[in-house]
Symmetry: C2
Subunit: 331 residues, 2 copies
């Protein structure tokens, strides 16, 4: 029979294709690659089960390789469906499972059913897919680990005028160092990098690498948030303008300071936590819930791209002016 590797598309259970839906219905067992699935709507697995009228089995990314045998079991006599959010081979790849099926004896035929991913959704920014260079992933930094090799990739793209899609990190099923050292299997709450932190890290890396190709006030960018969903939000501006979107108003800042001052019992750690929570709330107010991605605009910006992207400019943005003065994008 067939191993179907099926893309679920961008946002919810109804983004599967008719072809993918038929393949699911013809399958004996249905696996859902769970690493990315929690990015979607709450209760996603249950929603899929309701739509399919079938049981869905979660397959954790870190164990798909270990579980490959059991996933492929019985594929000689029945169809198996392996579901992946987005396109199954676009960002995360599942080539190991696929090669294992092909190399089985007898080989298990594999059918890929493609779907939209953030790589196609970038078109909603108004920028042409043709003008994008390599994609980068920006990982969470910790106090003692701040990898920034992705910055050079952005520079390579900018150097030849190309746009860059920067994907923000997500952390799911992470364990704390403390739990791990004590042998406690407990996962921390999922963490998603939001636009302000993404931009802050980019500017911080540019600063320490003295990368003059990025400038908060002269580099244009487009925030792409929850693409393809009902809560889709697209915001364009300079890096600084986008960053400022999540700043507190003057009143808010004063109220927060007063609150912190009044709470004399709070430790410095408590205050840090509180500030982080406020920053997150403001980031979500400005850009909505995760996932967030960012497009950094390259110099090859075309007037048609500019006009469309400018229709998403944040209030008071100098998007058009920067496009003209810095990018040389004139009619």
């Amino acid at each position: 029979m067939v191993l179907y590797v099926i893309g679920l598309g961008l946002a919810d259970e109804n983004d599967i294709t008719l072809k993918g839906f038929e393949a699911v219905k013809s399958s004996e067992r249905i696996y859902l690659e769970s690493y990315t699935s929690i990015l979607m709507v709450p209760g996603f697995k249950e929603r899929l089960e309701k739509l399919y009228q079938k049981q869905v089995i979660l397959a954790h990314r870190e164990t798909v390789e270990l579980e490959a045998e059991s996933i492929l079991e019985g594929a000689a006599t029945s169809n198996i469906a392996f579901l992946v959010v987005g396109d199954p081979l676009s960002a995360t790849t599942h080539t190991d499972l696929i090669l294992r099926a092909k190399h089985s004896s007898p080989p298990i035929p594999v059918k890929i059913i493609h779907n939209a991913s953030i790589m196609t959704a970038i078109g909603s920014s108004g920028l042409a897919g043709y003008n994008f260079g390599q994609t980068v992933s920006v990982p969470f930094w910790s106090d003692d680990w701040k990898p920034d090799s992705w910055l050079e990739r952005i520079g390579e793209n900018l150097n030849i005028g190309l746009h860059t899609l920067a994907l923000s990190d997500i952390k799911v099923r992470e364990q704390s160092a403390e739990d791990m050292s004590r042998g406690i299997l407990r996962y921390q709450d999922p963490r998603y990098m939001l636009i302000p932190q993404l931009i802050s890290q980019i500017l911080s890396a540019a600063n320490s690498q003295k990368a003059d190709y990025l400038d908060p006030n002269r580099t244009l960018a487009i925030a792409l948030c929850r693409m393809g969903s009902e809560q889709e939000r697209i915001v364009s501006g300079t890096l600084q303008e986008l960053l400022d979107m999540a700043n507190p108003s003057q009143e808010e800042a004063q109220a927060e300071e007063a609150e912190d001052d009044a709470d004399e019992l709070a430790s410095e750690a408590d205050l840090d936590k509180r500030r982080a929570a406020r920053a997150e709330a403001r980031a979500k107010r400005a850009f909505g819930e995760p996932l967030h991605s960012l497009v950094i605009v390259g110099k090859r910006l075309h007037p048609l791209e500019r006009d469309y992207a400018a229709s998403y400019a944040c209030p008071g943005s100098k998007f058009i002016q920067v496009a003209q003065d810095v990018y040389g994008c004139k009619e």
Copy 2:
């Protein structure tokens, strides 16, 4: 109400998403952007109409702008669906229609329903989407017009180790220069560039630009043909190996030469036509029906990418060896 701009995906009418299908069913009028639609299965419009149980109106690309008013007519009181093969904003963009809707008075809400495009289907090559640079389109050359600015783009990608997706030209609804000069409105048969011609033009351009970053025997490539369809065909090898796939066998070449020699009445033009037809038939034997695209592999090739791509190597291919010797891709 809403203007739905809906991607139809890669291959046939069943590649629409459930969400897109619902949007179509809720729409008063359904337009099909026809430029790309003829790439799909024969009788595509009729197949859509059968699936939707509704009439589908063809909208020719060159007239979408002119017809925008009529497409958007009545959108205040009913939904309109505009269907595009692949993803609606990925390769060809329809930003003009969308901006016009947004700028209508009152504005017409626009919903984009994304889908797979060749930009996501490249994952089936085994190469990671992250490692692709800018995409190029290779246009048909004529005797007196041989544009080759796309070659430099490939060079830019290769220079930083990135893969390139090269899309081959299609010509539909083209008029001959003769018909045009006589004012006869008659379209020529559609033409599609197949893999051998695509590679020949790339090598020819590289030769005349003295571009040493492309070498028939040292550059790896992956032919992606009719991606996402039942006839999907993926073939990897060096540029020369892929080119050789469409060569005639020795017996064929002898038989063809004998046939030409025997036909003493044939003019040189007749013979040229016949040779072109044979070359096309052989190209289709090797790679199947159009559309054909080609991935040119960059130096950042990862062993996992190599192993997956090598599973599609043409018979006798030196794919693995070139990956090791030229690309430095070792375990």
